[in-house]
């Protein structure tokens, strides 16, 4: 298993934050409200650890969006929220027209679109920064236990785990972005990052 160096980690965090900026701008335009998104920290950890982080925060059931991506590396991208946070987010974006305490089909689809914008922005940012083509599929709504959703029983697999902060209309809503890659994909990504770093140091 490959661990990324602090420099590689910083590079990825920067790429994701750039992507979050674009996603925030797209969401802001959609809902007519200023939205800020930030990814303060990126962790490369095992799936079990990621599931444990959520469980330790008493987040046993999560709701969110999943979409597959492929290209120079493959995997699944997830945007996850504790159940009440996903409802709060959708209510804010739909300007509180959501009457219920559960997401209906229409609100699930709204969450899918939000997830699609954010996850695509992260991947697009990586793709643009490193000159790669990454293709993502359509988003799917998911709900379940943290462990099941992250297939925590797959012990060898690593994930990029990011805590994302949504700031909308003076409300802060926390969610999590997770990119699940297999071992080969992690290695391939590492190779791409190294090439980029080399290119940057040569150009100085």
């Amino acid at each position: 298993m490959e661990n990324f160096s602090p420099l590689q980690n910083d590079l990825l965090t920067e790429a994701f934050n750039l992507g979050m900026g674009l996603a925030a701008s797209a969401l802001s335009q959609m809902v007519g409200e200023e939205i800020k998104l930030s990814v303060p920290k990126l962790l490369l950890i095992k799936r079990q650890q990621a599931a444990k982080i959520l469980i330790n925060k008493n987040i046993t059931t999560v709701t969110g969006v999943k979409q597959h991506f492929d290209g120079p590396f493959n995997g699944d991208a997830l945007l996850l929220f504790p159940v009440e946070n996903s409802l709060a987010l959708v209510k804010l974006l739909l300007k509180n027209t959501v009457p219920d305490d559960d997401l209906t089909e229409l609100e699930e689809e709204a969450l899918c679109e939000i997830g699609n914008i954010i996850l695509n922005a992260g991947l697009a940012s990586i793709a643009n920064m490193f000159g790669q083509d990454i293709h993502s599929g359509l988003p799917n709504f998911i709900q379940g236990s943290s462990e099941n959703i992250m297939h925590a029983d797959n012990q060898d697999s690593l994930v990029f785990f990011m805590h994302v902060d949504f700031c909308i209309a003076a409300a802060n809503i926390n969610g999590y972005i997770i990119y699940m890659l297999d071992a080969q994909s992690i290695q391939d990504l590492g190779t791409i990052l190294n090439k980029y770093l080399k290119k940057m140091s040569l150009s100085k």
């Binding site: 959609m30 809902v31 219920d100 699609n116 697009a124 990454i134 293709h135 359509l138």
Partner: protein, 387 residues
């Protein structure tokens, strides 16, 4: 273009696309429409032939700089799939249902990248008409809101009624208690001799003020129980002692009603865990009802029996039983049987409602039986305590 015309099984692709029940547009990286299916003829004024070859934003100039265009750009530039939900994008495409008042249709849109054989990047836009689903969900939401509103109104009314009853009863209780005790003193001739005519009036006033006081006390008791403010002092009680005490407490009632209370069967070792005062209140209510509905000189029996860990305590009278039409509402508040000619028995109509709540608080059940041969058995069951 010719690569689009046939699938491997020799079915023209155009036929397949036209058979789809959702809209399909394929555009290239300069937004030129490569193909679109006849689904659009239902919702736009453009025919298929008129649309193909044109640029999408020439046909729909209102789409420029919208979420849809940004999603298309994202797909073409980054080769990522994009999704537009109905909830966040009411009508991204200006599509109207010409068969239904020209209404805008609600849409759910997926945009996926595809590559042509000449490696040109294109995207396929799929549009689903979700108007019916949106209407159904909106109707459901309205019904839910209505139900919630009705529930809140009902709750508020119940609370207001409870507050009103409690406030009024509180304010009535003290003066009523004072009136009752004064009349009792007069009736007992403590204040000196009173002419007989006046005495009859005093006795009548005493009886009615006592009834009013009972009503006020019952209302307050019920309110206390329903609001959870009634405290229960649970202890192990001997059932035989309870029944004996109940008979002694109601001797005056028995005398005035011209009936007699008897313990029929009761093992002297039966024990229950209960609040003595509350259980006595239940016994007094049941015995009072039995006395009220029994003919003169009749016997009313109290029984207690153990069966499978449960003790059943019953009060059985030999009255005329309970009318069929009244049985379903017998435990409801202010419920009183109409004895004919709109005559109702005395009492507050709250006694059995209070009994039910007390027994339920003891995790027991309360019910009654009206055998065909007449009479009524009211009973309640509580878990036995094994010593």
């Amino acid at each position: 273009m010719s690569n689009l015309k046939l699938l491997s099984c020799d079915i023209p692709l155009a036929n397949v696309l036209d058979a789809c029940v959702f809209g399909i547009i394929i555009i290239d990286d300069s937004y030129r429409i490569i193909t679109w299916n006849t689904w659009f003829e239902k919702y736009t004024t453009f025919t298929k032939d008129a649309a193909i070859g044109k640029k999408l934003f020439e046909l729909f100039p209102d789409l420029i700089n919208t979420r849809l265009q940004h999603a298309i750009n994202s797909t073409l530039e980054n080769f990522s799939s994009s999704y537009l939900s109905q909830a966040l994008n009411k009508t991204p495409f200006p599509l109207r249902n010409t068969e239904n008042n020209n209404e805008n249709i609600e849409q759910s849109i997926s945009i996926k990248p595809i590559q042509l054989f000449d490696n040109r990047r294109c995207c396929i836009i799929q549009i689903e008409n979700v108007t019916a689903a949106v209407r159904r969900i909106n109707k459901l939401n309205i019904l839910k809101q209505q139900a919630e509103s009705d529930r809140n109104i009902a709750q508020n009314l119940a609370e207001m009624k409870s507050i009103f009853l409690t406030t009024v009863s509180h304010d009535l209780r003290t003066p009523l208690a004072s009136i009752t005790s004064s009349l009792t003193l007069l009736a007992n001739r403590i204040t000196g001799s009173i002419p007989e005519e006046s005495m009859n009036m005093i006795l009548l006033a005493q009886k009615n003020s006592y009834c009013l006081l009972q009503l006020v006390n019952n209302i307050l008791d019920l309110d206390k129980i329903e609001s959870g403010m009634m405290s229960y002092n649970m202890e192990t009680l001997n059932v035989a002692d309870l029944l004996q005490q109940a008979i002694e407490n109601n001797m005056d009632l028995a005398y005035k009603s011209n009936v007699s209370f008897h313990i029929n069967k009761c093992n002297k070792y039966l024990l229950v865990n209960a609040d003595q005062d509350r259980l006595m209140q239940v016994m007094c209510n049941l015995m009072s009802n039995a006395a009220k509905f029994s003919p003169p000189q009749s016997k009313i029996f109290l029984d207690a029996a153990l069966s499978e860990g449960t003790i059943r305590i019953s009060v059985t009278d030999t009255g005329s039983g309970i009318n069929e039409s009244f049985r379903a509402s017998i435990f409801k508040k202010f419920s009183q049987e109409n004895l004919g000619n709109n005559v109702r028995p005395g009492g507050t109509g709250l006694g059995l409602a209070i009994c039910e709540k007390i027994i339920h608080k003891h995790d027991g059940i309360i019910d009654f039986i009206c055998p065909d041969e007449g009479g009524t058995e009211f009973f309640f069951e509580l878990k036995a305590v094994t010593s």
